[in-house]
């Protein structure tokens, strides 16, 4: 290392600090999860993490989280677009409202959602005649996860959209491109990295969400139980090893998915010439 002198000083210090911080805050607690789950035998581990109820909860948690993140990507983008491109009365209030799902205690959100989406609630009553049930079904889980994930996409796309010169669109239009072509060929590729980042954050948040979901989910075994609930259930039965086993599976799957999305994001960012 002594031969290769770096232009930017402080590499050793900043890397050391980064690793130390990451270890204390993130890696050690996560390691504890794996260590605790390792007290189970392989057969016990397998039995705990692949029981039908737990498998059903994986499907719901990861499925609903991906779907919620996808919905938030589309509508969060529209919201960011409206906030950046148009002036309308109350724009600042709308802008502030976007962050509310961040600030609200998740249990409050959960109770509120459960109340209005229950068959007797404001929205639930409107949907009841069409035989659409939201509260106490997987659909309810999706609603809650969509609610809490919204700010992520808006807040990641908004600054990128603000930096995008309108000249680029003018150039495309003057070359004869239709509105849709401008969006598809010019805007979307430039916004894709930000959209993917927002998607990844919304997804990660949704996977770990507990408070807002359990009230609206109804927690019916095999139907509307989420994985975090399974972990809590195990804990309440003093089955710490079982709880950490499920947590370990969740962590691995989440990490794999996030790693994939981040790589996709890095690839799309390289394509628009932001890095290298």
């Amino acid at each position: 290392m002594s031969a290769a002198r770096r232009v930017l000083p402080g590499f050793g210090l900043s890397l050391g600090y980064t690793l130390f911080y990451l270890s204390v805050i993130v890696l050690i607690p996560l390691f504890a999860v794996f260590a605790k789950s390792a007290t189970l035998t392989l057969a016990e581990f397998w039995a705990t993490t692949t029981s039908p109820r737990v498998l059903a909860s994986y499907r719901l948690t990861f499925g609903a989280s991906l779907l919620a993140a996808a919905i938030n990507t589309v509508f969060g983008f529209l919201l960011a677009w409206a906030l950046v491109r148009y002036r309308f009365p109350g724009k600042r209030i709308v802008d502030a409202l976007v962050d509310l799902p961040f600030a609200l205690p998740t249990a409050v959100a959960g109770i509120a959602l459960a109340t209005i989406y229950s068959p007797k609630g404001w929205v639930g009553a409107l949907l009841a005649p069409y035989d659409i049930k939201v509260a106490y079904t997987p659909l309810g889980v999706l609603v809650a996860l969509t609610f809490i994930g919204l700010p992520f996409v808006v807040r990641t796309v908004q600054p990128v959209l603000e930096d995008l010169e309108t000249e680029i669109e003018e150039a495309a239009t003057s070359l004869g491109a239709q509105r849709l072509q401008v969006f598809r060929k010019v805007l979307l590729p430039l916004l894709l990295p930000a959209l993917l980042t927002g998607f990844a954050l919304a997804f990660a948040r949704a996977v770990g969400e507990y408070g807002s979901v359990i009230f609206i989910a109804g927690n019916i075994p095999l139907v509307s139980e989420i994985t975090p609930l399974m972990i809590i259930t195990k804990l309440e039965q003093y089955d710490y090893a079982g709880a950490t086993a499920i947590a370990a599976v969740m962590l691995v799957v989440s990490f794999a998915l996030l790693f994939l999305i981040n790589n996709l994001q890095a690839w799309s960012a390289r394509r628009i010439g932001r890095v290298g």
Binding site: E165, E167, I168, E170, A171, A172, T173, S174, L175, G176, A177, Q178, Q181, K185, V186, P189, L190, R271, I272, G273
Partner: protein
């Protein structure tokens, strides 16, 4: 293809960007819109392109009223000051963009597109950069690619908004000569906006001078430089010395000395401002001379065959404190001028304008 604008009006809030502008741009010419920032030149260009809609007036392309035609259908090539290249596309894809977005039945095949893009890249002498991304190019290269991209759709007119504004001085000079040669090759009616008078005079067939949303003068570079019609044009095109005086027959009296003037029929006794370019002033030495304006040489800057002499004038009404004179270097030597020499400055000719007309003059004295 000819462009005509008639009575264009444009306001942004209370700011009048264009005030009843009517102009004609003949087919195949390269015209410069020249003026200080905020004079409305870029707005006019954007109105012609259809990127901005005028509050009043008409834009005629080839005699046809195009005022309500969308920029997409106007078929104008637009080049932006900051290039506006698509950074996620290669140079090739950038240039091909205009061809690829054509409606399916008009769209050429990929093979035809490839051939056309190659030709255009050769035209701008950058065919070896086809696979690069815009971020890998220099500013001058980016602007040439932007030009090739605009030319790909075979525009009826080419509009360039301060095309060299973001480039450094040397590249700027090269590129404007190159643009002139390119225009001589392709002969597309072109309008470019600039605030650099040297650039406008060097490149354009015709120069339109604008100030405060109005057209001050239109003419060939020679015409506008040699015979400025308004005090603004005089002050804007090149360095100038500004005197105040009064008309006295066919002379103008400045600080009790009569000097011949070029003008026009101004009434006797009219208060006027008089302009002289540095090369229109001469310097005489010795006590034998009593005409002209007494001054002291403060600095002599010599480069090339011409020397620029800065002088401090004796305080007199109507005479600026600082006077700038340009003389051949041989003449400077002949006169034996050094810093501190006491001399007299004699205008060989003065261009005069009546004082009220010069009221709006922004750039008065030698710059």
């Amino acid at each position: 293809m000819s462009i005509k604008v008639e009575g264009i009006q444009k306001r942004f809030g209370n700011f009048v960007a264009l005030d009843d502008v009517s102009l004609e741009f003949p087919t195949g010419e390269l015209v410069a819109l020249l003026g200080p920032s905020g004079c409305g030149k870029t707005t006019l260009l954007r109105v012609i392109a259809g990127l901005e809609s005028a509050d009043g007036g008409r834009v005629l392309l080839e005699g046809e009223d195009a005022s309500d035609t969308h920029v997409r259908e106007r078929n104008v090539g637009f080049v932006f000051q900051h290039y506006a290249l698509f950074r996620h596309m290669t140079v090739f894809d950038n240039v091909a963009f205009g061809l690829r977005v054509k409606p399916r039945k008009e769209r050429p095949s990929e093979a035809v597109i490839a051939k056309k893009v190659k030709q255009l890249l050769e035209l701008v002498q950058l065919d070896w950069l086809a696979d690069r991304f815009p971020s890998q190019l220099s500013g001058g290269q980016r602007q040439r690619i932007a030009l090739a991209r605009a030319l790909a759709v075979e525009p009826r007119v080419l509009l360039l908004d301060e095309p060299f504004g973001a480039l450094d001085a040397k590249v700027r000079k090269e590129l404007r000569r190159w643009l002139r040669r390119l225009h001589d090759e392709i002969h597309v009616t072109s309008i470019f906006v600039t605030h650099d008078q040297e650039e406008a005079l060097e490149v354009a067939d015709r120069v339109v001078l604008m100030n405060h949303g109005r057209v001050e003068q239109v003419g060939t570079p020679d015409e506008v430089y040699d015979a400025p019609k308004t005090p603004f044009v005089y002050g804007f095109l090149g360095a100038v010395n500004l005197f105040h005086g009064r008309v006295d027959g066919n002379h103008v009296s400045v600080a009790n000395h009569a000097h011949p003037h070029l003008s026009a029929d101004l009434p006797h006794g009219e208060e006027v401002v008089a302009f002289a370019r540095p090369h229109e002033l001469d310097i005489v030495v010795g006590d034998a001379h009593s005409h002209g304006i007494g001054a002291t040489v403060t600095r002599i800057l010599g480069f090339g065959s011409q020397a620029r002499i800065e002088l401090q004038s004796e305080h007199q009404p109507g005479v600026p404190d600082q006077v700038e004179v340009e003389l051949p270097r041989t003449r400077v030597r002949e006169l034996g001028l050094v810093e501190g020499s006491r001399v007299r400055v004699v205008p060989s000719q003065l261009a005069v304008f009546s004082r009220p007309a010069a009221g709006a003059l922004a750039t008065g004295t030698a710059s």
